[in-house]
């Protein structure tokens, strides 16, 4: 059983699992309603009078903060609660394949929810002449950011068999990493920590990297940031599961 065969088996099981229950439909409906209402009511999308989706994408980090942990909380906590983890981990597959398969299923699912916001893209193209390159980059950035939140959430979900705890801790962790470039956080460190550390903390901010991609410039460094962050948390995820089984 190669790594990718095992990953694909876990991926498809998880992916169809979303659609076998109301979870997928409820999530997608809430996701689209939230995206729409924030953009049109709070963001005053029509009143800006500009053919761009900055308002729409600007809300993504904050909506993800609650929606993505709702998706990630069950990834491992549920398996541990129901005992199916014992089944999964005694099958002849590497733990990393299970971790990656589950993560990819959630990430692709989040991607589908994101793609279903396409009517707003049609709207803005109907009303004006937006820069579709910028919109494409923003979609990509948004999806990468969702992947970052998911990897953190998956890792935290492996630490507990309680989904509520997984949700709450993930929201807090994601909030901190999102605003780590913000003055509130930086002021806290600025007084005593060396500049290098303050800069390092600030560079972890999802907002900073997402804002850079939203400019329409897909900088290699921003892609590497999200890619490395996802890889790091999935690696920790594997370690967490291995540690729980260690003798």
């Amino acid at each position: 059983m190669s790594f990718w065969n095992a990953t694909s088996a876990v991926f498809w099981r998880e992916f169809f699992g979303y659609f076998a229950t109301p979870l997928a439909y409820v999530f997608i409906v809430i996701f689209l309603l939230a995206m729409g209402s924030f953009t049109f009511y709070f963001g005053q999308f029509f009143n800006t009078g500009r053919a761009e989706l900055d308002v729409f994408f600007g809300f993504h980090p904050w909506l993800y903060l609650f929606l993505i942990p709702a998706l990630s909380m069950r990834l491992w906590a549920e398996e541990q609660k129901s005992g199916t983890i014992e089944l999964l981990l005694t099958l002849p597959i590497p733990v990393s394949a299970a971790v990656v398969g589950k993560f990819l299923a959630a990430w692709v699912f989040a991607g589908i929810a994101l793609l279903l916001t396409f009517p707003i893209w049609l709207t803005v193209n109907y009303l004006g002449v937006p820069d579709n390159g910028v919109i494409f980059a923003s979609y990509l950035g948004s999806w990468l950011m969702a992947g970052g939140y998911l990897a953190i959430g998956s890792c935290i979900s492996a630490l507990t068999n309680n989904q509520v705890i997984a949700f709450v801790v993930t929201v807090v962790a994601c909030f901190l990493i999102t605003i780590s470039g913000h003055d509130i956080v930086l002021d806290f460190f600025q007084g005593w920590a060396p500049t290098a550390i303050v800069n390092a903390i600030s560079s972890f901010s999802f907002l900073t990297h997402f804002a850079a991609i939203m400019e329409g410039v897909i900088d290699f460094r921003d892609l590497v940031f999200f890619g490395a962050l996802i890889a790091l948390f999935l690696f920790i995820n594997v370690v967490v599961i291995d540690l729980k089984r260690a003798g």
Partner: protein, 247 residues
């Protein structure tokens, strides 16, 4: 086919399994007996590679469970305690997933699933979600999953727990029908089961083997010739105290 040497598992201060050694050959059905918390399930979790031993060595069909986990796990069919299965899947979807992970493809997978379904009598519920099934059917789904790839080694943790007398009988017949060409370990605290299906029984108490022999040999240890009495005499702390008190 299964060889265990000096197996120890500690959870912090607690020693769940305190030095178990045993061998199981092809054609043997070994019954693990013991009170709740004696270390039966923990031992099974180590044989199947779900948790790692603190000390000792396990080989399954010549493969060290720690060094070559996938080779060992490929040779094992495992029914974990409570027969966990993914509730949102139907039995046929669930078995297809297991077949895929076990590396069975197309015709081989279809044939394996058909055989397992017939042997466990699942035909009537193949398209029902597992969460809607009765306890007896859920257990049979777990059994079907364990025997799907026709493994040379079967490990079953309380395979008849919670079943009605007819279902118990059916599961015992199934185990007997497979026993000739496999090495099987079942755990139970139903003593009549040992008489019904096991060729050999081991009584475990506080993580140690306190008796090992054929059901007839174990019976010979009691003046009353009842397995219940042997079990109680070997595993009840009060019995020891009373015996010492009298002496």
């Amino acid at each position: 086919m299964i060889e265990i040497e000096g197996l120890v598992r500690r959870f912090g201060e607690l020693t769940a399994v305190g030095g178990i050694s045993l061998k199981v050959a092809k054609g043997e059905v070994l019954g693990f007996l013991g009170p709740n918390g004696a270390g039966k399930s923990t031992t099974m979790k180590m044989i199947t590679g779900f948790i790692a031993p603190s000390e000792g060595r396990i080989t399954v069909c010549g493969h060290d469970v720690v060094e070559q986990p996938f080779e060992a796990q490929s040779a094992i069919g495992y029914l974990p305690e409570g027969a966990p299965a993914y509730p949102d899947m139907t039995p046929v979807e669930f078995l297809s997933f297991i077949a895929q992970v076990r590396g069975l493809k197309d015709d081989a997978a279809k044939k394996a699933i058909d055989t397992a379904v017939v042997r466990t009598g699942l035909q009537s519920v193949l398209e029902q979600r597992i969460e809607t099934l009765s306890k007896g059917f859920k257990r049979r789904v777990g059994l079907a999953q364990a025997i799907l790839h026709n493994p040379p080694v079967l490990i079953m943790d309380e395979p008849t727990d919670g079943l009605d007398p007819n279902q118990k009988q059916a599961v015992r017949s199934l185990i007997k029908s497979m026993s000739a060409e496999k090495a099987i370990i079942i755990s139970t605290h139903i003593l009549e089961e040992v008489d019904a299906v096991c060729t050999r029984a081991i009584i475990i108490d506080k993580g140690k083997i306190v008796a090992d022999g054929t059901p007839a040999e174990l019976l010979a240890k009691s003046p009353t010739r009842r397995l219940d009495d042997v079990f109680r005499a070997l595993t009840t702390p009060d019995a020891e105290i009373n015996a010492e008190g009298r002496a």
